[in-house]
Symmetry: C2
Subunit: 571 residues, 2 copies
């Protein structure tokens, strides 16, 4: 709509397209609830107040109206579906804007992966902004399918819907001013740079902030969050499938410090999105934890918009995008209607109206599993009987660094099901290098069989955990045969799978299909003994060498605090 047309409607000379009558509008600027109408013209809000004529009217009957919700940081790939399918899940729950970091697909397919995510999200009712993956690969200690330099990133920075730089995970690179890291930070000076500094504090945190990153979503304690807020960081409170931080952090949010708090989901599996919800779930949880509902809604809207400099959204005011959520209960934000760009796009939890399906050539992001199977060997010759074991922490992406006595049979270290010490392998799958990292893990709880997947943050090599080598090999080969996916196997038999043909990360099926297959697969894993809510999500983070404490990549075992490889066997 031309500005001159917009103005003639705003000043009342022509009727608006739509008037939402009798709403209770959440005013995120003043923290008030205002009984008023909202008038819309084209994609935008023209004005508030009862005196706008409109071509179409809708009586809200006193229901609440808040701005469309914003997810400040999400890897859409973790939903295991494509952007249009992701939108079909989150928009009916009130989310109208996400800032996605496509660093999963970028680790597999580089700039092609990023361009795929942009193309596949064109024209959706969900506005998908991209923050560019800053650390592909995350470190030199894992092998990814691509390497994005500062020049590569700047080459993408001016594409439509690209904002800035996503979670800058290379903390030592930033703090120590290492050339590769510094080059990226300097290149993005003046743009939004999101941080990623789990557990970093004191001088290191101050140096990190001074280097450029201005937000963080890795706080796990109130103390950590408060230190970051005090130093000027925006804090995104995360409630993911694997990492749940909201209950630990919300009690420390105050009216005084909340203006720099927002919400993010980071990584959520389909079942959690469908059953619990998206940002609406975080708002509900926060309110249940005692946060003032208006403060929670501000965090989910205006605050995120301010950090990302999205001045056209995040509030209900003249000239802003008409992204709106209609709901009835302030203490239980359940979207009854969702408007995006002025159109009703969801009602009663279901998509409404015609949604465009972007036409995408995805050939560049298929067929991405390339493993050299011939010499593959999971054998671990014993070099003593004390080993480092990765300790899974339920509902967290951090792990423990355990030292355990390993079971040795004929000079070979093997899984010890009794003690829940399972074998883990990370198989390089991008370039066929033949790299395999081997180690042990506690916390999966399998009694027999193996799990494998092509989702292994951030390099997304094949991660395999099992009770015996044969099961592990069956599972790993099945993933490869699918062109990527998640598999459970026992002996020579594949017991269940979820194919993820797009970059080995995403399905090409509707989210409900993926969810059913995933539920079935998790049930199979439970049958094998797994006690975790979502063992594949947990497994997917055990190869992530930037999250403490002990992780395994295709190149070996990493002590994240030392930021270096450590031997499996302890002397």
């Amino acid at each position: 709509m031309k500005l001159s047309n917009f103005l003639s409607i705003a000043r009342g000379d022509e009727p608006a397209d739509l008037a939402l009558r009798n709403g209770r509008v959440i005013n995120v600027f003043t923290g008030e609830i205002v009984e008023t109408d909202v008038a819309i013209a084209g994609n935008h809000i023209v004005g508030l107040g009862a005196d706008y004529e409109a071509k179409e009217e809708l009586d809200l009957g006193g229901r609440y109206v808040c701005p469309g919700l914003i997810d400040a940081h999400v890897h859409i790939e973790s939903s295991m579906v494509t952007p249009p399918q992701f939108a079909r899940v989150v928009v009916p729950r009130g989310t109208t804007t996400v800032i996605t970091d496509p660093h999963e697909i970028a680790n597999v397919a580089g700039a092609d992966g990023i361009r795929y995510m942009l193309t596949a999200s064109e024209g959706l009712p969900l506005t998908i902004y991209v923050n560019l993956p800053s650390c592909v690969p995350a470190t030199h200690m894992g092998t990814s399918g691509a390497n994005l330099t500062a020049a590569d990133l700047i080459g993408l920075a001016d594409l439509p819907r690209v904002i800035g730089l996503a979670e800058f995970m290379n903390v030592p690179g930033a703090v120590l001013g290492l050339p590769g890291a510094l080059e990226k930070l300097v290149a993005f000076q003046g743009r939004v740079i999101d941080g990623h500094a789990p557990g970093v504090s004191g001088k290191w945190l101050q140096a990190y902030i001074g280097a450029g990153p201005g937000s963080d979503h890795e706080s796990t304690t109130a103390e950590e969050m408060l230190e970051k807020l005090r130093l000027g960081m925006y804090v995104f409170i995360r409630e993911a499938t694997a990492a749940k931080n909201l209950r630990a952090l919300v009690p420390a949010v105050t009216l005084q410090n909340s203006r720099r708090c927002a919400f993010c989901t980071d990584d959520r599996h389909p079942a959690d999105l469908l059953d619990e919800g998206h940002i609406d779930h975080l708002v509900r949880l926060a309110v249940a934890e005692g946060l003032d509902p208006i403060t929670a809604i501000r965090m989910a809207t205006l605050n995120a918009a301010e950090w990302f400099r999205l001045r056209d959204r995040g509030a209900i005011a003249p000239g802003r995008q008409a992204d709106l959520v209609i709901f009835s209960n302030l203490k239980d934000l359940n979207a009854e209607m969702v408007f995006a760009g002025g159109a009703l796009v969801a009602q009663d939890g279901e998509a409404a109206g015609d949604w465009p399906i972007p036409a995408v050539d995805d050939s560049h992001v298929r067929g991405t599993v390339h493993v050299e199977w011939e010499h593959l060997d999971f054998t671990i010759p014993a070099q003593g009987n004390r080993v480092r074991v990765i300790g899974v922490v339920p509902d967290q992406v951090v792990t423990e660094h355990l030292i355990e006595t390993v079971k040795v049979v004929d000079g070979i270290a093997v899984a010890d099901v009794e003690k829940d010490v399972l074998k883990m392998a990370v198989i390089e799958r991008h370039r066929g290098t033949g790299n395999v990292g081997l180690g042990f893990v506690r916390g999966l709880g399998l009694k027999h069989g193996a799990l494998a997947g092509s989702v292994g943050h951030d390099c997304h090599n094949l991660v395999v955990i099992g009770c015996d080598d044969a099961s592990m090999l069956t599972a790993a080969r099945a993933v490869s045969d699918l062109g990527g996916g998640l598999v459970a196997a026992s002996g020579g038999e594949v017991l269940g799978s979820v194919p993820l043909p797009i970059a080995g990360l995403m399905s090409d099926q509707p989210v409900e299909t993926v969810r059913r297959r995933m539920d079935a697969l998790v049930a199979v894993a439970a049958g094998l003994g797994s006690a975790l809510h979502d063992p594949f999500m947990a497994m997917g983070f055990l190869a992530l060498e930037v999250i403490p404490t002990l992780k395994l990549t295709d190149q070996g075992l990493v002590d994240v605090e030392k930021f270096d490889f450590v031997p499996l066997f302890v002397e």
Copy 2:
């Protein structure tokens, strides 16, 4: 300082340049007061906390430390001194950043005037940002010395220290979408656009906001302020020499709505700057009115920085500019030390250290008074005996639109000293057109003589008010002879003057000199009968045809609400 050097200091490998020990730091992010040190390297803050080594140390003994204060909107010209002299007054009071709108000098000298203000403020301890004058001339109803088009403005927009577009006074132009106005607003889309909408509300305000302007500093009532805040505007609470709004507005500021409130001084004369102060005065006043001191400081720092997208200042955090104010009493912010860019630049109310004096060629902005005296005539032939009279409202820039019976002598309408109805003339002084606007004014209180000045917002034509034509002519000619200035005269005698040779707006003398002469001149005016605190400031706004209600330009009497000329005589 190179980022790599900064980082080595931030992480503690090398000592900082300066550590301020034992401060009580106002944390504007969280609203807390934190007992800590502040470490500085070069121009920037490197970190907080007690464990930074430093080459130099200063024990603050528990005194408060807050970020350098920010004036969100000021016409430096109104201080009647040049930018370096202005800095010498405001920096010792804690102001380290101002956003100036050089629209006074731009109305006289166009882009040359703007460039002069930028050049004359290079390298000062006060960072002077320029928001470009959006409305030069303010309307078609006054004659200015220059006309700045959208193209002229965009041509200046990328100069260093230029932010965006200043107070968009052409409200009808914006709301009605008139071509010249729309062109400017569209050209500056995506940049900061400050608004100026006194008394505008309802649909017109919504259309105005939708057209682009996102801030306003013209609220005079709490109700007006709240409507603007609710619609997403930033509100700058103003306390100027002529327009004092703080006491009316501060009671409506809450912790909830304060994040979009800031402070501005707009126009302050030297005596007020020297006697009361600058933004520190507004903070003190606000606190005296009951505002929480930390909220007041946030408004004076972070909030303004956020609106103007000045992410390098407005808070005490790693990487931000080391602009700091040290003071002892939270309820009475009196700067004891001021640091700008890490250097001690003021102590105990006086400038400290060596300040650079920018070398400026000011020849383009001198000799700007060009009046055609030959045919000048202040005679008002009576066309009835009922006239419109401009009613001065003490301490406000708005006026009343009065209807009075005028004194008529021999068919000529003349000043009526008994009834305080004085004659007013506005003489075009840029192009020698011979334009003279004539009218009447109440509220100056002169019993004899006349006042004249080359400061007459915004066109800055000669404004003359007096009891008789002879005194008026003497005063006006004296202003011209000075090349610009303020004058009081009686009969043929000049009784006092302040020369303002730079654009007819600013002195080339130190502020103390200007203040002394100004005090003397105001005393002379008082001797002539003026009862106003600062009659020249009041007089300077009587020609401003964008502020309600009745104003006089060189082209005639303007009814601002009708946005059109009206006849002097009422039928």
